[in-house]
């Protein structure tokens, strides 16, 4: 646990530069920045196509102070494996001597949908990469279409009357692959998050972090609320903070008293059509309750 106070984070050098083109208040920028502080200089970043990518690298400028590569939308994990494999081979053959952290930053679409297979391959081979999914729960770069990570009830342009299925359980899938390390993260719990990133890159095999990312445009909220929503997601139990390591799942942030999901939903335009719909609310509340039961969170207190 190298990060004990936020000052430990502040003093770390920034490798993510201002002047990028992400929305004001974009949670993906916050994630990228913190990740970069933790992983540091000797890292190579792989980015799948998406908001983060198109808005941080616009020729002739880039917001990345470390080597960065974007190839396509669906292959971030394979690109990472290629780099891992190259560095391993070159070091083994003494053609190079310095190792790197191979770190993927990919959206939920690039992870849960079109990139899932490449990711599964990397997991299965045990490739030593850290894959971080910043999950804004839709295809934001293309204008808010639903993804496999879109939560139940959420409006998107392709779920105009609300998404009918529940979020794909990426952590469950990662754990089913017996990755070395997997964790959820939230920008509202920065120390927890930073320590998880630190742990992830130290693993001798694949690690995965699933990081909820409020998106002002897609979720339809005032940009200033990005952190607040990150916090509420945890407080409601909709986004439990836990980690998987050595075969065991452990809660890392307890929520003794959960907030009702409505508090989280009502701040977001994407749920506008359901915040007065009792049935829908009950459905989402019970989903949160199930998660709470599974991970050992406290009861709801209104």
């Amino acid at each position: 646990m190298p990060f004990k106070s936020i000052n430990d984070i502040i003093v770390k050098q920034d490798f993510f530069s201002p002047g990028h083109g992400l929305c004001a208040g974009c949670g993906a920028a916050q994630i990228a920045r913190i990740v970069m502080k933790v992983v540091g200089k000797d890292s190579i970043i792989i980015n799948s196509t998406g908001c983060l990518e198109v808005s941080t690298t616009t020729y002739p400028w880039t917001a990345w102070k470390v080597p960065y590569i974007h190839v396509a939308f669906e292959n971030a994990a394979a690109v990472a494996s290629g780099i891992r494999s190259a560095y391993d081979a070159l070091i083994m053959k003494k053609k190079l001597n310095k190792d790197v952290n191979v770190v993927v930053l990919a959206g939920d679409g690039g992870t849960a949908d079109i990139g899932l297979q490449a990711l599964s391959g990397a997991f299965e081979r045990g490739d030593r990469i850290t894959y971080i999914c910043y999950d804004n729960e839709a295809y934001m770069n293309t204008g808010i279409q639903r993804s496999g990570a879109t939560p139940y009830g959420a409006w998107t342009t392709t779920s105009p009357s609300g998404q009918r299925t529940f979020k794909k359980d990426l952590m469950g899938i990662a754990i089913a692959h017996r990755v070395k390390y997997a964790a959820t993260a939230s920008i509202a719990y920065l120390l927890d998050a930073a320590n998880k990133v630190e742990k992830a890159i130290s693993m001798n095999g694949p690690s995965f972090i699933h990081w909820l990312q409020p998106c002002t445009i897609g979720w339809r909220f005032d940009p200033k609320l990005t952190v607040k929503l990150s916090r509420l997601a945890v407080k409601t139990g909709l986004w439990p903070l836990y980690e998987y390591y050595d075969g065991a799942v452990k809660l890392t942030v307890q929520v003794p008293k959960r907030a009702p999901v409505l508090e989280y939903l009502k701040l977001q335009g994407r749920f506008r059509h359901i915040i007065n719909n009792k049935n829908e609310l009950v459905k989402i509340q019970s989903y949160a309750d199930e998660l709470a039961a599974k991970f050992g969170l406290g009861p709801v207190s209104e």
């Binding site: 020729y59 290629g82 780099i83 494999s85 490449a118």
Partner: protein
């Protein structure tokens, strides 16, 4: 050059042998008939410690090419190989590999594409990749496949080129036929195609961003760079082949004409079929017929000038296409050649011959039939059809 005994290798194994000698660092590939024995052999080399490399057994060809691209971007020497459906699945990333300018070398055991599924040879997989910006070589034998893989790294990694290369070997016909292959020594390979840690690459001491977003302001210019790099690679490819000839005694040219000088009729072909065509020409020459042939060894960049130099005096030209481009004027090779002829203001009667699709065997008689058709054209001055489907039932 040391003189080494011939090996008996299939096309696939000849390539695997070259890959071993080239001390490749990363191989990422996915199995598909008829490419499999190539990767299986490499796997065996690695497991026996004869090649120090990482074999990345990816979950699809899309990931294979993606991993090769990024491994090359990290400075490693990489190899991959595929065929048919697998090659088609790489389609998207092929463009990216060439545009980002990474020297990936890929051997393709050419095979017909689905539907219907068929595991035998034709050029239906490679032709639709002719816009991808890769250098595309075609060979006639296991020996040539071996030689070209060695040349390929030298070309691809050349700072003036920095482009990926596809080496096409006819599936089954070359990939699985055993024949004599004369290798050159490991040290000759190393000195002919030495590995260097090239840059720019993904290096924390010199950070760069690869694959940035591009506004309309820059797209045309950067794509033009790749286009030009590919066109400019032609003399380099040609020189590497010549130098290799000095080393090994074997050089092939980027076009390989045979008896073209005084030929009235010239047949143009690519890949293993050229052998049968050459044999047919020999036989017909024995009968005194003024026929010739030209084997296209390089399809991208397309060697228009070199080609036309040899065929310009012919009275009729036949072009063999081993792939359809349905709805097009004719087959891909024919369209390319005739467009080149048009630009050179030639007007030689030219006919497209489709044959050998999906493994339909190409016999000496088929080639003779083609020459007969062309002879008739020369004689009568009449072209009845622009496309013939040799061996088609119906």
């Amino acid at each position: 050059m040391q003189i080494i005994e011939p090996l008996t290798l299939s096309g696939n194994l000849a390539i695997a042998y070259a890959v071993k000698q080239l001390d490749v660092d990363v191989v990422a590939a996915y199995p598909i008939t008829p490419q499999t024995t190539m990767v299986e052999k490499i796997s065996e080399y690695i497991s026996k410690g004869e090649l120090k490399a990482n074999l990345l057994l990816v979950e699809s060809e899309h990931s294979a090419i993606s991993a090769c691209l990024s491994a090359a971007a990290s400075g490693a020497r990489v190899f991959t190989s595929s065929s048919s459906q697998g090659l088609l699945l790489m389609h998207e990333i092929l463009f990216i590999t060439s545009a980002l300018r990474f020297p990936v070398v890929m051997a393709i055991a050419n095979r017909a594409v689905s539907a219907p599924i068929n595991i035998w040879n034709d050029h239906g997989d490679i032709m639709p990749q002719r816009d991808t910006g890769w250098i595309q070589l075609f060979v006639e034998s296991a020996q040539e496949a071996y030689d070209k893989v060695i040349q390929a790294y030298r070309i691809a990694e050349d700072d003036k080129v920095r482009l990926p290369i596809m080496i096409n070997i006819d599936g089954i016909v070359l990939s699985h036929t055993y024949e004599p292959v004369y290798p050159i020594s490991d040290s000759d390979v190393a000195s002919f195609s030495p590995w260097n840690l090239y840059s720019p690459r993904l290096d924390p001491d010199n950070p760069i961003t690869i694959g940035a977003f591009c506004y309309p302001d820059y797209y045309f210019e950067t794509r033009y760079q790749s286009l030009k790099a590919l066109n400019d690679s032609l003399p380099i490819i040609s020189n590497v082949d010549k130098e290799f000839g000095e080393l090994s005694g074997r050089s092939y040219g980027i076009v390989s004409p045979f008896k073209c000088d005084d030929a009235d009729i010239i047949l143009i072909s690519m890949g293993s079929i050229s052998m049968t065509v050459r044999a047919a020409v020999k036989k017909l020459r024995e009968k005194g017929e003024k026929v010739g042939m030209l084997s296209l060894k390089l399809f991208r960049p397309f060697p228009s000038k070199e080609l036309i130099r040899y065929i310009k005096n012919a009275k009729a030209i036949g072009i063999i296409d081993r792939a359809f481009s349905p709805g097009a004027v004719a087959g891909p090779v024919f369209t390319e050649v005739t467009s080149a002829l048009y630009l050179s203001k030639m007007d030689i009667p030219s006919v497209d011959f489709f044959l050998g699709l999906g493994g339909r065997d190409v016999k000496m008689e088929d080639i003779k039939d083609i020459f007969n058709i062309l002879k008739r054209i020369v004689k009568t001055g009449l072209i009845e059809r622009h496309s013939y489907y040799i061996g088609l039932r119906g």
